[in-house]
């Protein structure tokens, strides 16, 4: 198992490397002159030229990339000109907040999605199945940011059960209880779409597995239906669902962009939106790079879990 994980980690290196190239190229393709963007349209040509030199933009693309990646290894992603602080500091701080939000949402959607999917499959065409199918359809058909707004209206404004925004209370907060209180609404909102997707796939996977010969064997052994479904069938279904959960991690982190904006969660998503509208491109670059790398690692983790479940993959 250890050797397998090491092998997968090694295989992830070229992917991460490719990510740096894409992220770098996207930023290099930006039309217009960053120096002009930074200095404004009234800048003198001398100032523009000086800033270009400072930013290393007078060099070839390849040289720029080598310098950029060299700095990356030193932990230097440049300096955000709007915040006037190192990009890496800002990105890491923001990313922690996003991880808390997205991690909770991912946990929530895995549990709820698997549960709903299994119930749906076991009660196929029954009332529970129909209700879940409809809920799932509703869940994946409406914008998550809209659901967020509705939840704020109901639970924060009218019922006053949860705070409407932020990560901690401004006065007297800061402990875990306060965090969970603030986390409830955004994490739930963020998990809904992924829950639907996972529930759907779990249902199909369970129905497929329940047709397999080894399920008949389990029944022929005289096992209880509970063991047949929750031990034998569920483990097989899980093998095909785990990679989907890995992919959903990407959607959850991406979806965090909306949810963080709606709930004013101080995460990387809301940072990116602000950075894009203020054209703070170094900040965008750093943010995208960190999130994409995390996504690669999430998928890697999903692969490893899948391999742990299925001995045939080892």
């Amino acid at each position: 198992m250890g050797a397998y994980i090491a092998k997968r980690l090694l295989a992830a290196i070229p992917v991460l490397f490719g990510l740096t190239i894409i992220v770098f190229l996207i930023m290099a393709m930006i039309p217009g002159d960053p120096a002009t963007a930074i200095l404004g349209s009234y800048a003198t040509p001398e100032n523009v030229a000086k800033l270009n030199k400072d930013l290393g933009l007078d060099k070839t693309l390849f040289e720029q990339y080598v310098i950029w990646i060299g700095n990356l290894f030193k932990g230097d992603l440049g300096r955000s000109y709007t915040l006037n602080r190192p990009v890496l500091d800002e990105v890491l701080e923001r990313f922690t907040a996003t991880l808390i939000l997205a991690g909770t949402a991912l946990l929530l959607c895995s549990i709820l999605g698997l549960l709903a999917g299994v119930v749906s499959a076991v009660r196929q065409y029954g009332l529970a199945d129909k209700a879940i199918t409809l809920l799932v359809l509703v869940g994946i058909s409406r914008p998550s940011f809209w659901l967020g707004l509705l939840l704020i209206l109901i639970f924060a404004v009218n019922l006053r059960l949860f705070p409407a925004s932020g990560m901690y209370a401004i006065y007297g907060g800061g402990d875990l209880k306060d965090l969970l209180h603030h986390l409830a609404l955004p994490a739930f909102t963020l998990s809904v779409v992924a829950t639907g997707v996972i529930a759907r796939l779990t249902r199909t996977a369970m129905l497929e597995v329940l047709r397999q010969d080894y399920i008949r064997t389990a029944r022929a052994k005289g096992l209880s239906e509970r063991k047949v479904i929750y031990k034998h069938a569920f483990k097989s279904a899980l093998v095909s669902i785990v990679p989907v959960i890995g992919i959903q991690a990407g959607f959850v982190i991406g979806g965090a962009v909306y949810i963080e904006t709606v709930f004013q969660w101080p995460g990387i998503g809301s940072m990116l939106v602000k950075a894009i509208s203020t054209r703070d491109l170094l900040l965008v670059q750093g943010g995208v790079l960190v999130v994409a790398s995390a996504y690669v690692l999430f998928n890697l983790a999903a692969d490893v879990v899948q391999t742990m479940l299925d001995p045939r993959l080892r």
Binding site: I140, G222, V262, V273
Partner: protein, 650 residues
């Protein structure tokens, strides 16, 4: 524009009478119809926007700001600038629909093109394109769209490009897979040999076949695209004022959420209605086009075969003593509108320590007979419609689920055909054995483990203790089948039902398994019901044999007698099929024709159409199994030992 009408030209071929068209099936699906109607209404309203008597959506009237729903002259109220919300909603829907559809078309066009080229060209081109696609897919989807908007700058058109671009990989992957399969097909080879150029082949031969898949993929992604463009606009990165789509309306409304919630709730509802109707329709289309769902093969089988029999018509057990006594058992499958009579009234009588072979071609109902006994035929589509099976005098079809579960693997154990698919791939051999033991015996973990080792040694598996931690795929086919047999022996069963246990194995392994089973039968005095299609196997193991054809037993008797003197022409033909070592000149004729389909059995003898001795009388009425003595019987009007007179020949 609906997806159903888009598929229509592709499937313009005449449909065979009696099968409902795709469109008719769509209307049978209530949810899909609802989706279609809502979508059509939204689309028509959006298209008709310039013709409707609506106020200008962009004219501000600060005096009338934030009027509530159902106000005079403003059905849905006004926003923070006093603009009419209904008008803005309809115009915004127009924009959202147009952007969502355009993004879908662009993504479908470029994605499919990449997929077609990669799938058809193969080799280095394929690798290059697909690695690029993988790279793009390594980004979380929305993040990539954000990065693209960051580069291009905020704006509706840029948002459209971004959404289209991030969806290209999805199409490329799907279409490449299909193209790869198609490009190896005969008609493509034929076109190549006819001297057509690659673009000609790609667009004239392959594209029409890929088109339905493109349409399905579009119908499942267009909902996402509408949502995502709305999302970008909500963040202020899409539509810029004064232009508005549903997303930017929501985004503007959000700022006044607490004072005037209707300004953000209304556009949200519209997005929801739009995407929901698209998804309902898309699901409907997918369900109709997915062959698995059509065949009902994704229906969950219940724990035990459904029994529907007339309580007044349950045959009593026979008077002779026996462990397993099957009386007039009938099992059917209901698939679509037709009923397949897989087992049409079978009697079997199994004494202690006896081995009966059931032999027949594929589809003769022999496996279904074996599965029916303990209710292992999947329901749906299977069901037992008559007869009885008595185990030591107890009616199995009338027993409670709990009782059947106790007997399964306890008194009656099964060995199935392919040990690779019948063992659970994710549990070790030991886990599966211990589970079988503990299902019926109150043993502790270590006791059960000891017993498992004992069982593995019993079926002659070397290094039994180490093998416990092996997974099924790590064992050879013969070893796996030994494990299955060990599992069947775990609880000292009275009856062993073996469904072609040697068919998937090598010949040498086959004989080992047969010797093993024969030895175990003698040691433990268990009765065996042995299903096979091989007379060689029957003669090696079985005391008696029953020959099945089209769901009925056509001949039965002591194995040696049947082999030496077959009476049913079908039995005779089956025996002729067995090659004999040292007799190369022996003719091993295949039996001409095929067994009849059991949903439409002919009157009279089911074998009549393939029988060399068929007479007119063979095609009338029901031909019963006539028992000559206690063991020997045949259901044939003109058995092999009876001379045919010339005037009877047809």
């Amino acid at each position: 524009m609906t997806d159903a009408t888009m598929t229509a030209p592709v499937k313009a071929k005449k449909k065979p009478a009696g099968r409902p068209s795709t469109l008719a099936l769509l209307f049978n699906n209530t949810l899909a119809t609802v989706g279609l109607v809502i979508l059509a209404l939204i689309c028509l309203t959006a298209l008709a926007a310039p013709l409707l008597p609506l106020p200008d959506p962009d004219v501000t009237a600060p005096a009338n700001r934030l009027m509530p729903v159902f106000s005079d002259g403003h059905l849905l109220g006004t926003d923070h600038l006093g603009r009419d919300l209904l008008s803005r909603l309809i115009w915004g829907t127009r924009v959202s629909l147009a952007v969502g559809l355009s993004a879908t078309v662009i993504a479908a066009f470029f994605g499919s093109l990449l997929g077609l080229v990669a799938g058809y060209a193969g080799g280095r081109v394929d690798t290059l394109i697909m690695r690029g696609i993988d790279m793009v897919m390594a980004f979380p989807y929305i993040l990539l769209a954000l990065a693209i908007v960051a580069v291009l700058g905020p704006g509706l058109l840029n948002a459209l490009y971004a959404i289209a671009l991030v969806n290209i990989p999805f199409f490329a992957r799907n279409i490449r897979g299909i193209t790869l399969g198609l490009s190896r097909r005969e008609f493509v080879d034929a076109a190549r040999l006819a001297g057509k150029s690659p673009p000609q082949i790609l667009f004239i031969e392959i594209l029409p076949n890929v088109l339905p898949v493109i349409v399905i993929t579009m119908s499942t992604t267009v909902g996402w695209m509408v949502l995502e463009t709305a999302g970008l606009s909500f963040l202020g990165l899409g539509a810029q004022p004064p232009q508005a789509d549903l997303g930017s309306m929501l985004g503007e409304g959000r700022k006044i959420l607490f004072t005037a919630p209707h300004v953000s709730i209304i556009p949200g509802l519209m997005i929801f209605a739009l995407v929901m109707s698209i998804n309902l329709l898309g699901d409907g289309i997918r369900d109709i086009l997915d062959p698995r769902l059509r065949a009902g093969s994704l229906t969950r089988p219940v724990a035990r075969t459904k029994v529907i029999r007339d309580p007044k018509d349950i045959p009593p057990p026979s008077l002779e003593p026996g462990v397993l006594d099957v009386r007039d058992m009938r099992t059917e499958f209901q698939i679509g509108g037709s009923v397949y009579k897989a087992v049409g009234g079978v009697d079997l009588h199994l004494k202690k320590g006896e081995c009966i072979g059931i032999i027949g071609e594929s589809g003769s109902g022999k496996s279904v007979t074996a599965m029916s006994v303990m209710g292992l035929v999947p329901t749906p589509p299977g069901r037992i419609v008559g007869g009885a099976a008595y185990l030591n005098g107890e009616d199995l079809f009338g027993a409670s689920d709990k009782r059947v579960r106790d007997l399964r693997g306890g008194s009656v154990a099964y060995v199935f055909q392919d040990p690779l698919s019948t063992l659970h791939p994710l549990f070790t051999v030991g886990d599966q054995l211990i589970e079988a033991i503990q299902a019926h015996q109150p043993l502790s973990g270590s006791e059960a483990k000891e017993k498992a080792i004992e069982l593995l040694s019993l079926v002659r598996i070397p290094n039994a203790p180490e093998r416990l931690s092996a997974y099924p795929h790590e064992l050879s086919g013969g070893m796996r089948q030994r494990v299955c047999i060990a599992m069947a022996l775990a609880n000292d069963a009275n009856v062993l039902i073996a469904d072609e246990p040697t068919t998937a194995l090598d010949v040498t392994v086959q004989s080992q398994i047969l010797t093993l089973m024969n030895g175990l039968r003698r040691e433990r005095d268990a009765a065996i019901l042995f299903i096979t299609h091989d007379f060689g196997v029957v003669s090696a193991l079985c005391d008696r044999v029953a020959v099945m054809y089209a769901g009925r037993i056509v001949e039965t008797g002591v194995t040696a007698e049947v082999l030496a003197n077959p009476q049913h022409p079908y039995t005779a033909k089956l025996i002729d099929c067995v090659p004999v070592l040292g007799q190369p000149e022996r003719r091993t004729d295949a039996i001409e024709g095929r067994p009849p389909v059991v949903n439409n059995l002919p009157d009279g003898c089911a074998f009549a159409d393939r029988c060399p001795r068929v007479q007119t009388a063979c095609r009338v009425g029901l031909i019963e199994l006539e028992m000559a003595n206690e063991t020997r019987g045949v259901s044939c009007l003109f058995p092999m030992n009876k001379e045919l007179r010339d005037d009877q020949a047809s």
